[in-house]
């Protein structure tokens, strides 16, 4: 047996080598032809590795908004924040969602209060594609991204190949109805506009696990946006847009009605209402006589207001933000030396009231930045950048970042990055899930001066290396990608839930870090059958009250496989299976008792999604799919569900699916 497999291994290695030679002969002719089409999920020339999430990838899960769309992306983990609100948060590199910067066409988008909920404000149907990069990104977009950046590109109004009008309706077996309209009009080559409308409602009360609580709240959500593009003479480009969001959620115990007084003996309820308005503009000017020189100004302002009730806890919050970013780009001599420099200003005003205690703050952060991109050859290039900002509450700080790319062969790319990131933790908004519990919130701070919540800023250093290897095997393309990132916190606002009755927030004393290793393999198995296999490993630890512990509710291991097949007559089949490893659950009350159980580990589990779709004449697409097909559910997602006003009540210890299998159907109608 031993000998046989050794021989086989040797044999196939030799053949691989032979084949590699043969391939180079036959592909020599192809050399000038650009490396091909949709099956390349990564950028190859950029010093910053970007995973491209195409419209096709987004449609693998017909549902529905940004947070759900990541369920088919191995680099991003998606998990419920709690068993009441139905909100999900994303994780990258083992770090919570707010550590990832989400930008809409390179303008910071869901910051601050919307860091968790904001992902549901961008429907998947509006999106043209996304670029996902791990590690600290470009300084041009600010100093905040710790774990990575996700840039979302909306559909453009001037793309002639796109439909004029896209109508989408979606219905799930769990009582969720959703509709989207994406309209574009190109008045001329100069002027074009987009109109986006989204409506969603969860109208069916569901309690699959029989704990008396709705598995997800009833809701009404309405989002609309309008934007304009103007391409003027002499290299002028102007874009402006507005977006409005209106959301009403109501959940909790079955008998709870919105507005009911809450307290012992009465139904426990959850309500949240959100109103958000955004406006933005981009003004750009290219200089026709000066090659590759441009000036751009990004402006964005937002108003966000939310009112949440979790049982007897009331959390009211308002955010007003203004952002301006001026970017000058030019070359020194030739395009091998590109510089970007500019100045930015970030103004955030927060007014929060949690359990009748008011917290207000104003953050004003002017900053300047410079980024230098050097291309030595097609094999070696780098981006070195630094920015300096002055924070009115935290003082001045510098943000250096470096990205290096080395490609020894055309299809082999090594990249390395190192950088600093800083951000202000919005401790309540980012941890709203814990409000769905009997836990008290304590901010352990020296309470000196005017620092936000009396706490220091979060400062982290992120270093990473990655390898992308593209290959052709039997005339079909594939890619292998391995990346490793290490994030170390110089300071972190620790969210300590080790005590079952409290959430403690304090500045880090000791160590806090996140190791992340991911390997991904993409290959076209047979013509038009794409396979993606991925595995990722996290080692995320923080010092909680003097003890270095694994961060709770994060799976150390996750394996992922996706198969996508498309037939000639436009049937598409998608199948995703994932294995999610066990997560640490801190010490909590035992279910139905006052006894406190020691910390434990959740079981690992499988999840499966599948979808079939058929397109007619490139105009009508009908889809049918299922989520969580293994029907795996947490039995008791809410600890102490029968006594929600007692201290042992906790709906925030969610490690797995709360709802069973869900089936859905819908269509997309495109009018050209």
């Amino acid at each position: 047996m031993d000998r046989i497999y050794k021989q086989l291994l040797l044999g196939s290695l030799m053949m691989l080598a032979l084949q590699a030679n043969a391939q180079t002969d036959s592909t020599k002719k192809l050399k000038d032809v650009t490396v091909r089409k949709r099956r390349s999920p990564y950028t190859m020339l950029d010093p910053i590795k970007k995973e491209l999430v195409s419209n096709r990838d987004l449609l693998k899960a017909a549902c529905c908004n940004l947070s759900e769309s990541f369920e088919t992306t191995p680099s991003v983990d998606v998990a419920f924040t709690d068993a009441i609100s139905g909100y999900k948060q994303v994780q990258m590199l083992g770090l919570a969602g707010p550590y990832t910067m989400i930008t809409r066409e390179n303008i910071p988008d869901t910051r601050g209060l919307a860091a968790i909920t904001g992902l549901t404000f961008t429907p998947g149907t509006w999106i043209e594609g996304m670029q996902l990069s791990k590690g600290t990104g470009s300084v041009v977009n600010g100093y905040e991204s710790v774990a990575g950046q996700i840039n979302v590109e909306w559909k453009k109004p001037f793309e002639d190949k796109d439909e004029k009008l896209l109508l989408n309706l979606y219905q799930s077996s769990q009582g969720r109805t959703e509709g989207n309209i994406v309209y574009r009009n190109k008045f001329s080559d100069k002027l074009s506009t987009n109109l986006f409308v989204h409506g969603k409602t969860q109208w069916l009360k569901l309690d699959g696990n029989g704990d008396g609580f709705l598995d997800q709240p009833l809701d009404k959500q309405f989002v609309a946006a309008n934007r304009w593009f103007w391409f003027g003479p002499n290299g002028w480009e102007v874009q402006g847009g507005v977006k409005g969001v209106f959301v009403e959620n109501a959940g909790g115990q079955w008998d709870y009605k919105e507005g009911d007084v809450q307290g012992l003996g009465k139904p426990w309820g959850y309500t949240m209402s959100t109103q958000r308005a955004e406006a933005w503009a981009k003004i750009g000017k290219m200089f026709p006589n000066k090659p590759a020189t441009s000036v751009g100004l990004q402006l964005s302002g937002l108003y966000h207001d939310q009112n949440a009730v979790y049982g007897t806890t009331n959390y009211l919050a308002t955010q007003r933000s203004f952002y301006a970013n001026l970017i000058y780009q030019s070359i020194i001599g030739n395009t091998n030396h590109v510089i970007k420099a500019g100045a930015s200003s970030l103004i955030d005003n927060y007014d929060e009231t949690l359990r009748a205690v008011n917290y207000t703050r104003n953050e004003v952060v002017p900053g300047i930045f410079a980024e230098y991109a050097y291309t030595m050859s097609s094999k070696f290039n780098l981006v070195a950048a630094i920015r300096g900002d002055y924070h009115n509450l935290y003082g001045a700080f510098a943000t250096p970042r470096l990205h290096v790319r080395y490609a020894p062969f055309a299809r082999t790319v090594f990249r390395a990055s190192v950088g600093r990131a800083q951000r202000t933790a919005n401790i309540f908004a980012e941890n709203m899930g814990y409000m769905a519990s009997g836990r008290s919130f304590y901010v352990r701070s020296a309470a000196t001066g005017s620092k936000p919540y009396g706490l220091d800023p979060e400062i982290a250093w992120n270093t990473g290396v990655n390898l992308t290897q593209k290959f052709t095997l039997d005339y079909r393309d594939g890619a292998l990608s391995v990346d490793y990132y290490y994030t170390q916190f110089q300071n972190q606002v620790v969210v300590d839930i080790e005590n079952p009755h409290a959430v403690n927030f304090y500045n880090l004393v000791g160590q806090s870090f996140a190791n992340s290793l991911q390997a991904q393999f993409d290959y076209e198995l047979i013509h038009n059958l794409d396979m993606r296999l991925a595995y990722r490993w996290y080692d995320v630890k923080t010092t909680y009250g003097g003890t270095l512990k694994e961060r709770p509710l994060i799976a150390a291991h996750r394996a992922f496989a996706n198969l996508a097949y498309e037939t000639r007559n436009h049937w598409k089949f998608d199948y995703t299976v994932q294995w999610i490893g066990s997560k640490r659950i801190p010490s909590v009350h035992e279910h139905h008792s006052t006894v406190i159980a020691p910390e434990s580990y959740s079981p690992s589990f499988f999840q499966m999604n599948a979808q079939i779709s058929k397109t007619w004449n490139e105009n009508l697409e009908v889809y049918l799919g299922g989520e969580n097909l293994t029907n795996y559910m947490m039995h008791d997602p809410i600890i102490g569900a029968d006594n929600p006003y007692a201290p042992g009540f906790d709906a925030s210890m969610v490690w797995g699916p709360i709802m069973g299998a869900n089936f859905y159907a819908g269509f997309r109608l495109k009018l050209r």
């Binding site: 497999y5 086989l8 196939s12 691989l16 036959s26 089409k37 002639d160 190949k161 039997d474 005339y475």
Partner: protein
């Protein structure tokens, strides 16, 4: 572990064994416009016996790798013409051409994508 290695070995061996000298790569000029055309042309060129088909929208050159024992230039380009795209060897019929979406009608329209 041993089994895993065996499986991986087999996975890689099969396509290698399947490969032989019966393979050619040729290029043809095929009319078309944009990314949408690209997909249509490549799919049409992928007739039985073809291992790889790639159309460059910049140069309008279609590169096909196929097994001469199973198909030939004419077969491939007939299929492409049938989908509405003319080439040096086979011209499309008016009826087939008119079925193309507006932006792909390369005789009259262009698209800057």
């Amino acid at each position: 572990m041993k089994n895993l290695i065996l499986i991986i070995t087999l996975l890689f061996s099969v396509p290698v064994i399947a490969q032989d000298k019966d393979i050619v790569t040729k290029t043809f000029k095929v009319d078309g416009n944009c990314g949408m055309c690209k997909k249509r042309i490549e799919e049409a060129a992928f007739v039985k016996g073809v291992k790889r088909a790639e159309w460059n929208k910049g140069t309008h050159v279609l590169t096909v790798t196929y097994k001469p024992s199973k198909t030939n230039d004419e077969n491939i380009l007939k299929s492409v013409a049938h989908a509405g795209h003319s080439s040096e060897l086979v011209k499309t019929t008016d009826a087939e051409y008119k079925k193309l979406p507006e932006c792909c009608q390369y005789k009259t329209n262009t698209c800057e994508h």
